[in-house]
Amino acid sequence: MDDRPNAATTGAAIRLSGLSREYGDRLALRDIDLTVARGETMVLLGPNGSGKSTMLRILATLLRPTSGEVRVLESLLPDESWKLRGRIGYLGHEPLLYRDLTGRENLQLQAKLHGIPKEEADARIEHDLDLLEMGRRADDRVTGFSAGMRQRIAICRAVLHRPELLLLDEPDSNLDPEGRELSRALIGPAEGRTRVLVSHEPDRARAEADLVVTLDRTGGITNQPDETADPGDQHEAGAGR
């Protein structure tokens, strides 16, 4: 039924049907259906409070769906979320960095938690830090970092274990134009890597999107076809199934 050959051959990276999430009596997400094929980039748009971050946290196995079927990298959430650990790179609002450790120590801790061998980890950390031009400051404590520098370390942390699926919640926030450009090497579109991108800048985000999903304030999907920049390349959520 899927008209995207990509999804049919490699299996979907993300498949949601009827996903809802409640907070108390409030519905944060309402009956979401969508499919993201492997290697694709999905961009999540929508006003504040429309459930974008909630969706991302559910995909990251950090939040349980209230109802609906959620499949991420062929694993059914939340029952099989253990299969996904270490395969997802999550960059949320919070940088997930310990303020009293240095940037490098934070990354080393991340490497240890993900079981990356020491030499391998050190090489990667060196490489990634250099890419983001953070090598000089990496041995300072995070507490002295500016928000932009924290974001750069957080990006390194999110991709250190080379995840198959990247979940990025406004990855450009706090970054200067140079930082945004540099970070593309780590979190930009890459061969075979699936990405979900929450963004407040529709135009920039659309440029690299294979799929654009717009959430409305009630937590449902409201895509208007005419919003899509290039309908030929992009599919809207729920379409084609």
Partner: protein, 79 residues
């Protein structure tokens, strides 16, 4: 050791049993009040429902989807 006189003991025993019975009574009346409230709320809801069923046009104008609930067709997300 202090020993209560028999008449004293009777008073204590009865006050213990009385306390217990009073507590049960109070608890049950609290429960009763709760059920009365639920009953009233239910009545209000029924009235509301009937009133809205009686004049469906007004409801649509007010923008409240009454009996459709979550079964209302949603144009974008349904597949």
């Amino acid at each position: 050791m202090f020993d209560a006189t028999p008449s004293d003991a009777v008073g204590y025993v009865f006050s213990a049993y009385l306390f217990f019975l009073l507590m049960v009574l109070v608890y049950i009346s609290i429960l009763g009040a709760k059920f009365q409230r639920i009953n009233r709320e239910l009545g209000e809801l029924i009235e509301e429902l009937e009133a809205e069923n009686a004049e469906p046009d007004a409801v649509v104008e007010a923008g409240v989807a009454v009996d459709s609930g979550s079964n209302a067709p949603r144009k974008e997300s349904s597949v």
